[in-house]
Amino acid sequence: MTSAVLFLLLFLCMAIGMPVAMALGLSSVVTILFFSQDSLASVALKLFEALSEHYTLLAIPFFILSSAFLSTGGVARRIIRFAMDAVGHIRGGLAMASVLACMLFAAVSGSSPATVAAIGSIVIAGMVRAGYPQSFATGVICNAGTLGILIPPSIVMLVYAAATEVSAARMFMAGVIPGLLMGGILMFAIYVVARIRDLPARPWPGLRELAASFFSASGGLMLIVIVLGSIYGGIASPTEAAAVSAVYAFLVAVLGYRDIGPLKGVPWRREGEPLARAAARNLLQMAWALVRSAGDAQVRGVVMEAAKVSIMLLFVIANAMLFAHVLTTERIPHAIAQQIVEMGLPAWGFLILVNLVLLAAGNFMEPSAIILIMAPILFPIATRLGIDPIHLGIIMVVNMEIGMITPPVGLNLFVAAGITGRSLPWVVRAAVPWLGLLLLFLILITYLPQISLFLPGLIDRLQGY
C-alpha cells in the first residue's frame, strides 16, 4: 500500500512535468506525512545528511568540473587526432578511431553524455565528410559514448559506492576490463561491417605524425595517469583524485593548450624568439594568467556550466537518497527481498530479474536516481545469494549504459539528436542496431563475474603479500 502510493505519486509528479529531484522529494515527504511516524524535521535532517555526509559523492562536482574544462579546452580535439592517426588506416578506421577516442575520453571523464558531446560533436561530421552514412556514425557514437560511465572514473560508480558503502576505488578498478572489452567488441563489429559495406580507410600517416599527435594529446591523456595513478599509487582517494583532476584540467586547458582563457592565442614561442626569453615570458604570463582567470569570461562560463550540472545532479541524488530512506523506514526493501528469497530463485535467475527491472527503469529515469533507489533493495538479496557486491555494481552500471540509449529518457540520444540536428526517432533508429551488442555484452558481464572481479582480485593478490 505505502509503496504503491509512493511510486504512484512519484510517477504522477514526474508526468505533470515536475523536476525529478522535487518529484522524488515531494513523494517522499507526503508518504512520510501520511504513513509514518517520522517527523518533517527528520526529513530535513536526512536531506542535509545526504548532502553533507558522503565524501564519495563529493567527487561528482569535481569530475564534472574537470570534464567541462576538457570539453571546451581543446583536449577532445587532440585526443581525436591521435586516435585517427593510430587506427584510421584500418578499413572502417575512422569509426574505430571514434570509438578509441570515446574510450580515451571516457578514461578522463566520468559522464557518458559528456563523452558523446565532446567526441561526437567533432567526429560525426568528420565521418560523414569521409563518406560514412550519418546514421552509422551516430549509432557508433551513441554506443561508444556509454563507455563514459564504465571506464573509470565514473559518476554512476561513485553513486553506487555511496549507496552500498563498497569502495569506489575498487569499483573503478572493476570497470577497466569490461570497458576495454566493450570497446574491443565495438571496434571488431565496426571492422566486420566495414568489410561488408566497403567503408573507407585513411592513408597511414606515418610514425612521425603519430608521435606528434600523441605528444599533442598527452597533456589531456596525462589525466588517465593522474586519476588512476594517484588512486592506485597510494596518493589519493577517488574524491581527492577528482579534485586533482579538476585542477589539472583547468591548468592544461588554460595554461597548456590555451584554447580558452586569458592566454588564448598567446603562442608558447614567438617566431625567432630565443628559448630562454620565451621560457621567462611564459612563466610570467602564466602566473599572471592564474590571477586573471578569476575574471575571465570564458573560464567563468565553464565553471558556471559545471556548477549548474553539478547542482542539479547532486540535488537529484540527495532527493533520491531521501526517497530510498522512506523505502527503508517503511521496510519496503525488506518485504521485496523477503518475497524474492521465498521465490527460491537461484543466483542466475535473480540476475535475470535484476537486468529486466533495471532495463525497464533505465527507460524512464536518471541513472543516479535508479541506483540509489534500487541498490538498497538488490544489495541485501545479492549478498544472501553469494553475488559479489562489486560484480552487482558493474551489472548495474552496464544496465545504466543501455538506459542511456533507450527512449524516452536516454541522455546519449538527446545529445546525439542535438549534435546531428536530427529528430529523436531518427537517432533511436540509428542507435538500435548497436543495442544488440550492448545486450550481448550485458549477458557476458552478468554470467562471467571474472571479467569484473579479475582486476580487483589481482591487485589484492599483488599487494596483499
Binding site: 512535468g17 529531484a21 527528520s42 571546451t72 565553471v303 524512464f364 536518471e366
Partner: protein, 180 residues
C-alpha cells in the same frame, strides 16, 4: 541594488563555493602527499561547502531552467491542458518547498536549543545547517515567480535543460573550432 547586480552576486557565490571546495580538497592532497600532514577539519568543511553549494544553487537552477525532468508527456497535451498541468507542477513544487521549510525550521530550532557544534569546527550546528532555510526560501521565491508567469501565460513551466544539453552546449564551441 539592481537585478543585474544581484544576479552577478548569486553566480559569484555559486562559483566561489565550487572552486573553494575543489581547492580545499586539492590542498589536502598536496599537504598529505607532499608534506605528510593535513588538517583534521578540512573534510567536514568541504562537505559542508558542497552542501551549501547545492542548496544555495537549487533556486538558481530554476532560474536558468537547468533542473532535470521529463516533459514528454506534458508536451503532447493541448495548450490549455498543458498550462494547467504546468501550473499544478509548479504549485506541487511549492508544496515541496513549504514542507521542507517547515521541517528545517523545527530541526534547526531543536539544534539551536540543544546548542551543539559541528564535529571539528567551532561553529554552532544550526548555523552550519542554516542553509536549509536559506536555500528553500530562495527556491520558494523563484517558484512563486514562475507560478505567476505560468498563470499569466508568459512561461510554459519548468524548462528542462538536462545534462545532455549542458554537455552539448560545452562541446559546441569546440566543434566549431575543429571545423575551421
Amino acid at each position: 541594488m539592481s537585478v543585474r547586480v544581484l544576479n552577478r552576486i548569486e553566480e559569484a557565490v555559486i562559483a566561489l563555493l565550487l572552486v573553494a571546495t575543489t581547492l580545499l580538497v586539492f590542498v589536502d592532497v598536496v599537504l598529505r602527499f607532499g608534506f605528510g600532514t593535513g588538517w583534521l577539519w578540512s573534510q567536514e568543511l568541504t562537505l559542508h561547502l558542497s552542501a551549501w553549494f547545492v542548496l544555495f544553487g537549487a533556486s538558481y537552477g530554476v532560474k536558468v531552467g537547468a533542473h532535470i525532468g521529463v516533459d514528454a508527456l506534458v508536451r503532447v497535451l493541448p495548450r490549455r491542458a498543458r498550462r494547467a498541468a504546468s501550473a499544478v507542477a509548479v504549485a506541487a513544487a511549492l508544496v515541496y518547498c513549504g514542507l521542507f521549510l517547515a521541517g528545517s525550521w523545527i530541526y534547526l530550532g531543536k539544534m539551536f536549543r540543544i546548542g551543539i557544534e559541528m564535529e571539528d569546527l567551532p561553529v554552532p550546528l544550526w548555523v552550519a545547517h542554516g542553509i536549509l532555510l536559506v536555500g528553500f526560501a530562495l527556491l520558494a521565491l523563484r517558484l512563486l515567480q514562475l507560478l505567476w508567469r505560468v498563470l499569466r501565460g508568459e512561461a510554459e513551466g519548468f524548462r528542462f535543460a538536462d545534462e545532455a544539453e549542458e554537455s552539448l552546449h560545452l562541446a559546441r564551441g569546440e566543434a566549431e573550432e575543429a571545423r575551421r
